[in-house]
Subunit: 323 residues, 2 copies
């Protein structure tokens, strides 16, 4: 019998990363084990040290922008994550719910949701979630005490254990968090923007045989891998004082007919105001066998302009996938 | 008598922004009033509404990278900050101190600092400062309780009022914060990196006469304005789906012999995965009269490629200035 596939995600259990991992790889079974990493760095180490086959970590949110922790680990300034490569992505629409302790079987079922809202005296969630539900909170929970917690999952856990019947507490979290902690979803879709989406990266160790056929392992890639667009992520560092070096580096991508879809930069930490740039580009469908030749050509050219550069992976555009 | 110049900074009082404002404009006097804004948005509004002549706000740290709050307000998605322009910058080396309550005149002077370290049972600072003093904390304060507070200045204030003689508390903050709150600097330079620097932007209202001659008002620009390099900040938004549009926009800067010194992006919030880009470029010294012609040429060209673009200001490179 083959060992089950080990997939780690940025924890805690029932986090949005957990949900992205479930959607990408499927539920726990004899073929698959899912486990949380308590930090971004732990998720990266799990891959580098072959303690996991895949890691699912947030990369970018459509409202809040890039996740700097992920960029800093991909920058790999100390060479700790040398074998880590991006092999996939998953787009998760962020849905927030108002969650309370599961009512006893007879209670509350004859009250409307809005009556229950009025009995709530305290709210819990992750700091970022308040701003994503402002309209709903402004309408029903003006002036109600708010308590920041370390994750939305933690918020759901806290209210699931609330046994003070005089003080009703509610959490803002996902339906997965409610389910996981045995709590009750009082209202779905309380988020301001229906299009608030987080993009997750799927990481693997490029030296690992077990994870090399990622597309056949993902739940999402069955139909379109042959025609789907691909994305490549490349990092590079330039001499800060060289005039035009950044524009020259970027023109390499243009020369190869690549559409730059995003640019990010993080401090190099070698010297102030020197940066590591992350360029993501989109290209036409290529057979996997050609991906390597393609990126090695680009890296060769970048090498003549940049102090250093690294291929961080090529994968199928997640927006071209179907579940 | 002329009204004093009103300079606001990101508060609270004795923040690093306060220090940057003092270094840029000088101390409170009959000619100058300094006052804190309690948020980034308040500092921007003060300029837009002409309640301040200048605002000093953090833009980028050499270790932690860009300050997204500032980028988001410069993005000005709702058109609230139409007249705001960058007119200067200031580089502040971040120095952290270990700060305690001012000792009574007779006490502690015969003890070495390290003896006093051992009596400290709790530490306060802003979350970001812990990571900037890891070496010092690891050596002297392993396992000591840490309390996050909203600013380093607040941390200094808390310990300045600590009157429990059995529990000695210390703050990590600047010497300005110690001075402002009447606290005592036990040890200077406890930061890990001597080169940890924050770059502050100086903002003004482009329609204001009072702030138009910024270079003559700054303490730093007396010697080198004629030969100093200049920087320009431009923001633009492109059609996300247009292949090569980002590379085309960037090539406009190259055509005008501008060295791109940084690129940042933030979500447009119009639709997911569309971005507002911020490009900063460096150019040879130009007479101020020519700055406008120069940027208007660039904007004209960008206008043919981008959905929208905006000149966010031209100013003298802060690294070319002397105090």
């Amino acid at each position: 019998m083959k060992d089950p596939l080990r997939v780690t995600f940025l924890g805690p259990a029932a986090s949005f990363s957990h949900q992205a991992a479930l959607s990408s790889f499927g539920s726990e079974s004899t073929d698959i084990t899912l486990f949380p990493s308590i930090s971004f760095a732990d998720a990266f180490s799990a891959i580098q040290d072959n303690n996991a086959d895949f890691a699912v970590i947030p990369f970018e949110n459509s409202t809040n922008g890039s996740v700097v922790q992920t960029l800093d680990l991909l920058a790999d300034r100390q060479g700790l994550n040398k074998n880590i490569t991006v092999c996939g992505e998953y787009f998760l629409t962020v849905e927030h719910c108002l969650i309370v302790r599961r009512p006893s079987t007879t209670a509350t079922s004859d009250h409307g949701s809005e009556d229950v809202f009025q009995s709530i005296t305290k709210l819990y969630t992750h700091p970022q979630a308040w701003g994503q539900c402002e309209r709903f909170l402004g309408r029903y929970f003006k002036g109600i005490e708010r308590q920041d917690v370390s994750s939305t999952s933690k918020a759901a856990e806290i209210v699931s254990k609330n046994d003070d019947h005089n003080h009703h507490e509610a959490a803002i979290a996902s339906s997965l968090a409610a389910e996981y902690h045995g709590a009750f979803v009082l209202q779905r879709h309380i988020e301001d923007r229906a299009d608030n989406t987080t993009r997750f990266l799927i990481l693997r160790n490029e030296a690992s045989e077990r994870s090399s056929g990622v597309t056949s392992l993902l739940k999402t890639t069955t139909k379109t891998t042959r025609t789907a667009k691909k994305k490549t992520l490349i990092s590079f560092m330039i001499e800060h004082s060289a005039p035009g070096a950044l524009a020259d580096a970027l023109s390499v991508f243009k020369k190869h007919s690549l559409n730059l879809t995003s640019i990010n930069s993080r401090p190099s930490l070698v010297r102030p105001w020197q940066y590591i740039f992350f360029v993501e580009c989109e290209h036409a469908p290529t057979p996997t066998a050609e991906d390597e030749k393609f990126t090695s050509d680009i890296l060769k050219e970048l090498g003549t302009i940049c102090l250093s550069c690294r291929d961080l992976g090529t994968w199928v555009d997640g927006r071209d996938l179907v579940t």
